[in-house]
């Protein structure tokens, strides 16, 4: 019952949204088609809703005929269909609601965030600027992998001889995990050319890479360390008992097992690093957010900033899905034991 009501509400809202969409687009063909598809889609919950009603009638009939077990089966099937109807109808209501919101205020919302002319005007410069974000992120990621590993190894050096280096690595990680990335960026990008005049000619992107590397290697060192110490000491004992040296044990037994475990958290840190390239805008580096802000103040319209958001979404989502895939695969492998 609820499912049916929800389905009808969803249909009504979707029709309204489709009309707004068409009006907003001046009855453009694409908008009309999109609207029509959405409306047809919102009709879908009716199917399970009617199946649920049919199932319910079947149950009553079976009950009258005293067929208890088939009646129970029919009731369960009807309930399942009703739940499906509700689930899909709720989704239709949410989508339609979001669309209506986007066209609320006489198209004001759409105007503010999604103006096509503003996108057309800014697109070329924006994509060019976004390239800066990408290569800065990639170079930083490679450096972070190396520096992070060095820090992690320093933190795990054994014995008294390793103590001073262990302490240095510990202090480094603590400090750079404490300082907000944006502060490190400001200090490094603006400070380095003043403190070391020889670096005054360096492109600011290089300094941006240095500051992101400094921040993120502190995190990644922790990821490596957690991965290595998550391997049970009995593995190390088994390797040593066979006569393998400390380094051989690390290389052939511990690291290969740790790598698989650290890849998902490592990729998560990389995604976060990509997004933090946006912070370089505060240091006057011509990356995509800075450029979009310039366009925003030129056009008095936020749409270029939405475009920047879209760029980040497009490159991040596949990676996020990939991380999920890896995590699920590992979970499945563990479950198989």
């Amino acid at each position: 019952m609820v499912g049916l009501v929800l389905a009808l509400v969803g249909i009504a809202m979707m029709v309204a949204a489709a009309l707004r969409l068409r009006d907003y687009n001046g009855s453009g063909l694409v908008a009309t088609i999109v609207g029509a598809v959405l409306v047809v889609g919102s009709l879908y919950p009716l199917v399970p809703a009617f199946k649920a009603f049919a199932g319910d009638r079947k149950r009553s009939r079976l009950l009258r005929e005293d067929q208890l077990v088939p009646a129970r089966r029919a009731a369960a099937a009807a309930r399942e269909e009703a739940q499906i109807a509700m689930g899909y109808a709720a989704a239709a209501v949410i989508v339609a609601g979001l669309l209506l919101m986007a066209f609320a205020n006489g198209g004001g919302v759409a105007e503010t965030f999604f103006t096509k002319s503003a996108w057309d005007a800014s697109f070329n410069e924006m994509i060019h600027a976004f390239w800066t974000n990408i290569w800065v992120a990639c170079v930083s990621q490679v450096l972070v992998l190396i520096v992070g590993l060095l820090l992690a190894i320093m933190r795990m050096l054994p014995g008294r001889a390793g103590a001073p280096l262990r302490l240095i690595a510990l202090v480094y990680c603590d400090i750079f995990r404490a300082i907000p990335a944006i502060v490190t960026i400001l200090l490094i990008v603006f400070g380095t050319p003043l403190a070391f005049p020889t670096t005054a000619n360096w492109p600011p992107e290089w300094l941006g890479i240095v500051s992101l590397t400094m921040t993120y290697s502190a995190y990644v060192a922790e990821v490596y360390r957690a991965g290595l110490s998550s391997i049970h000491p009995s593995q190390s004992a088994a390797a040593r008992s066979l006569g393998l040296s400390y380094t051989q044990t690390l290389r052939t037994v511990l690291v290969p097992q740790a790598v698989r475990r650290v890849i998902p958290p490592l990729l998560n840190d990389f995604i976060s690093l990509q997004k933090d390239t946006a912070l370089l805008s505060t240091a006057s580096i011509a990356e995509v957010v800075l450029v979009s802000k310039l366009w925003e103040s030129n056009l008095f319209n936020l749409s270029p900033i939405t475009l920047a958001a879209a760029f980040f979404i497009v490159i991040t989502i596949p990676q996020a899905r990939f991380v999920d895939y890896l995590i699920e695969r590992d979970a499945a492998r563990r479950g198989a034991h």
Partner: protein, 247 residues
């Protein structure tokens, strides 16, 4: 002079003294069994012989050569002393064959082809040749333990330490593993093993030591210890073991 001499060994974790002066000799081709309650220090003693734990007092000698204290080449020592753990500890990221070949190649410097051949022969001797390509997580506990034994044997150790290697196994798998140890004993391998399989100990051990709270309370032949224990603690321990159906 015995082949393996454990002389007044003391071992503490922090303030907790786990071994309180343990002395024990194992002759060449002799099999010595350690029995004792959980926590009495059996595993710790075996780990000390393999230098997986540092000792705080006493000395361990192998073939007359002191192998404890500063300056000892641990990697060389461990080539002579093999150990098999209660929990198998196979390397899960390597196949059975790779597990067995790792140390001969990396530590003993055996050529790959020869190492493979030797590994396959050893695996065949414990009936595991068909599983050479499998990964440990696909094997039963008993199969894993047989591979672990082979992995230690591949280094051709002069003495083997076995730490309750059947304790984690289902009863019907115990027999296979013990059969292998029996063959090793018959073949003249020197062994020091912690075990609760009294019947097995009677059969292979020339000496049984009852370890209680960090020291050896009583020692003798299997018949002596199991049938006429002198110490009250030994009697109590054995009656508990009998009650739990291990004898």
């Amino acid at each position: 002079m015995a082949f393996l001499e454990i002389d007044e060994v003391h071992k503490s974790y922090g303030h907790h003294e786990v071994l309180k002066g343990v002395s024990l000799n194992v002759e060449r081709h002799e099999v010595v069994c350690l029995i004792g309650a959980s926590g009495s220090g059996k595993s710790t003693l075996l780990r000390c012989v393999n230098a997986l734990e540092e000792i705080q007092g006493g000395e361990i000698r192998i073939d007359g050569d002191t192998v404890t204290g500063a300056g000892v080449d641990l990697n060389a020592l461990r080539r002579d002393v093999g150990i098999v753990f209660q929990s198998y500890n196979l390397f899960p990221h390597m196949s059975v064959l790779e597990n067995v070949m790792l140390a001969p190649i990396r530590v003993a410097g055996v050529a790959k082809g020869e190492a493979r051949e030797r590994a396959m022969t050893l695996l065949a001797s414990v009936g595991m040749q068909d599983y050479a390509k499998s990964y440990p997580d696909r094997l039963s506990g008993g199969q894993q333990q047989r591979v672990a034994i082979v992995r230690a044997l591949a280094m051709q150790p002069r003495v083997m330490l076995l730490d309750e290697i059947t304790a984690a196994l289902d009863p019907e798998l115990v027999g296979d593993v013990l059969e292998i140890v029996r063959e090793l004993a018959n073949g003249g391998l020197t062994m020091l093993l912690a075990t609760h399989e009294m019947g097995f100990a009677k059969e292979v051990a020339s000496q049984v030591c009852f370890l209680d709270n960090g020291s050896i309370l009583e020692r003798g032949t299997a018949e002596q210890i199991f049938e006429q224990p002198r110490e009250e603690r030994t009697q109590q321990f054995l009656s508990r073991v009998v009650k739990s159906g291990r004898l």
